[in-house]
C-alpha cells in the first residue's frame, strides 16, 4: 500500500512543466530576444550617443573586430590584472569616447556585449590569449 502511494506522488510531480521541457517555439523566442538585444547593441556600438565627444565604438572596431571576446578573461598589462571584456569596454567609454562607465549589468552594456559576441560567433574560446 505504501509503495503504491509513493509511485502515485512521483507521477503527479512529473506531470506539470519541468525545466528541460522546451519546444522549438521556445528556442526561437529566446533567440529572437537575443537578436533584439544584439541589434540594440549594434545601434549603441555605431552611435555617438554612448560617449560625449561624438566618437562611436565602431569607428575603431567595425563589425566589432579586434575586440576578441573569446580571449577574456585575460591579463591586461595596463590594468595589472586579469579582466573581463566589459571592463575593457568601460575603458574605451572613458577614454576615446570621453564618456561615463556602465555597470556590468546595465542593459546597454549587456546589449553591446551581445553584439560583440554575435559578430565573433563560431570562434573557439581561448581565454588569456594575446
Amino acid at each position: 500500500m505504501k509503495k503504491v502511494a509513493v509511485i502515485a506522488v512521483s507521477l503527479v510531480l512529473a506531470g506539470p512543466v519541468v525545466a528541460d521541457e522546451f519546444t522549438k517555439d521556445d528556442t526561437e523566442r529566446w533567440m529572437e530576444q537575443f537578436e533584439l538585444v544584439a541589434a540594440e547593441g549594434r545601434r549603441l556600438w555605431t552611435s555617438p550617443e554612448i560617449g560625449t565627444n561624438g566618437v562611436a565604438c565602431a569607428q575603431c572596431h567595425p563589425n566589432a573586430a579586434n575586440t576578441h571576446p573569446e580571449t577574456y578573461p585575460k591579463f591586461q598589462k595596463q590594468l595589472g590584472r586579469v579582466t573581463q571584456l566589459w571592463e575593457m569596454i568601460n575603458w574605451c567609454l572613458r577614454n576615446p569616447l570621453e564618456g561615463d562607465e556602465l555597470a556590468a549589468d546595465d542593459p546597454k552594456m549587456v546589449a553591446m556585449l551581445a553584439y560583440v559576441h554575435k559578430e565573433r560567433r563560431g570562434v573557439k574560446l581561448d581565454p588569456g590569449k594575446h
Binding site: 561624438g54 566618437v55 575603431c60 563589425n63 573586430a65 579586434n66 595596463q78 575603458w91 576615446p96 563560431g122
Partner: protein
C-alpha cells in the same frame, strides 16, 4: 585665425617637439647603393586620414587633432626637406565646414607645397564643394623631376545612391561614414574620370615612372569595409603598359602592400586611429595581399598606437616608403628590384616577425 597666431602655434610645436623628435626620426633619405639609372631621386612626405571631428562650438576630438598636429610638426623637421607633401584624404570626419577648416588650418602649418586627395568623409556632405574652395580640383595630374603624378578621386559611387536615396546631405554623409554600414555603397572612379585618366596617360611615355594617389585601394581587398574600388581592374589595365607604376592609397588605416604586374601598391597609415585587418572579422572573407607583413596589433591603451605618417624616397622610379609610427618601431617597405615587388626590409622573413604582427 590670423597668420601671426598660426605661426605662433607652429613655432610652439617646433620648440616643444624637436627635442624628442630629433633622436627618433629615421631620416634615412640616402640613396640606395647601385643607383645606376638616370632618374633623379627625391623625397616626399605623406600624411593621411586625420578624421578631424567636430564636437560643438570650437571643440574638436582632441585625440584626432593630436595625430595630425604631430604629423605636421614632424614632417616640418625632415632633413633634407621633402619636395612636397601629399595629404591622402579624410581630412574631416563628417565633411563639415568646421571640420575642413580646422583640419586645413593644421595642415597649413606644413612648410611645403601640399597636394590633397579627396576622401569619402570630405565628400558626401556637399559632394566636395567646400573642399574644392580649399583645395581645387578633385582629380588632377602633374609632372615632377621626370615622374608623372596622378591624383584620383576614387570615392565616388553609383549615382542613385548619391543623388536619389537619402532625405538629406547629412544623412548621406552619416551613411557613408560608417565603415561597416550595410547601407553604404562601393567606391568608384566613375566613367568621366576613367576617360580623363585614359586621355591623361596617353600623353605619357611608357618609360616614365607613374605614381597614382587615391584614397581607396585601386585593388579589391574587402568589399564590406570598402577596402575596394569597383573599377580597380579597369584602372589597372590602363596602368599596365607602363614600366614603373606606384599606387599609394589611404582609407585602410593599416599597412598593406602588393604587386600586380608592374604596379606596386602601398597603403599609408592614419594619423587618427588604426583599423583591424579584415581577416580579424570572423564572419567575412578578405583578400589581404600575401606580400603584406601586417602592422602590429594596436594597443588601445596608447592613443597614438598604430598611427603615424610616412615619407617616401622616389628612387629610380620606384617608391620606397618609411612608416613613421608614433608608438611602434618604424617600418620600411622598399621596392626590391630583384624580386620585382615591394617588401619589408626587416620582417620579410617569417622567422623575424613578432607576436604583435599576428592578427586574428
Amino acid at each position: 585665425m590670423s597668420n601671426e597666431t598660426l605661426n605662433g602655434r607652429r613655432d610652439f610645436l617646433k620648440a616643444t617637439t624637436s627635442g624628442v623628435i630629433a633622436g627618433m626620426l629615421p631620416v634615412s633619405l640616402v640613396r640606395l647603393a647601385g643607383a645606376a639609372e638616370s632618374d633623379p631621386d627625391f623625397t616626399f612626405a605623406y600624411i593621411s586620414d586625420s578624421h578631424i571631428q567636430h564636437i560643438k562650438g570650437n571643440e574638436f576630438v582632441r585625440n584626432w587633432d593630436r595625430g595630425l598636429i604631430r604629423a605636421v610638426a614632424e614632417a616640418n623637421l625632415l632633413e633634407p626637406k621633402p619636395d612636397f607633401v601629399v595629404f591622402g584624404g579624410d581630412l574631416a570626419q563628417l565633411g563639415t565646414k568646421a571640420e575642413l577648416d580646422h583640419g586645413a588650418e593644421i595642415l597649413a602649418g606644413l612648410n611645403y607645397k601640399t597636394r590633397v586627395v579627396m576622401g569619402e568623409h570630405d565628400y558626401y556632405l556637399d559632394l566636395g564643394e567646400y573642399w574644392s574652395d580649399l583645395y581645387g580640383d578633385h582629380y588632377y595630374s602633374w609632372d615632377h623631376k621626370g615622374v608623372h603624378f596622378i591624383t584620383l578621386n576614387s570615392i565616388l559611387t553609383y549615382d542613385d545612391w548619391t543623388f536619389d536615396r537619402w532625405e538629406s546631405p547629412e544623412r548621406r554623409m552619416n551613411e557613408m561614414a560608417g565603415l561597416d554600414n550595410p547601407n553604404g555603397s562601393p567606391f568608384m572612379v566613375g566613367d568621366k574620370q576613367l576617360k580623363w585618366l585614359k586621355k591623361d596617360l596617353s600623353k605619357v611615355s611608357r618609360d616614365t615612372p607613374v605614381v597614382v594617389f587615391s584614397h581607396s585601394p585601386l585593388q579589391k581587398i574587402y568589399k564590406g569595409w570598402n577596402f575596394w574600388t569597383e573599377e580597380a581592374d579597369d584602372v589597372q589595365a590602363m596602368l599596365k603598359p607602363f614600366k614603373k607604376v606606384n599606387v599609394i592609397y589611404g582609407h585602410v588605416h593599416q599597412i598593406q602592400y602588393n604587386q600586380i604586374d608592374k604596379i606596386a601598391f602601398t597603403s599609408v597609415m592614419s594619423t587618427a586611429w588604426p583599423w583591424p585587418y579584415p581577416e580579424s572579422y570572423a564572419q567575412a572573407e578578405s583578400h589581404l595581399p600575401i606580400l603584406t607583413v601586417p602592422m602590429n596589433r594596436a594597443d588601445p591603451f596608447n592613443e597614438r598606437d598604430a598611427t603615424g605618417w610616412q615619407f617616401m624616397n622616389m628612387h629610380t622610379g620606384r617608391v620606397d616608403l618609411e612608416f613613421n609610427l608614433y608608438n611602434n618601431s618604424n617600418r620600411t617597405i622598399a621596392f626590391n628590384r630583384d624580386k620585382g615587388h615591394p617588401e619589408d626590409v626587416t620582417f620579410s622573413d617569417a622567422k623575424t616577425r613578432t607576436p604583435a604582427q599576428s592578427h586574428f
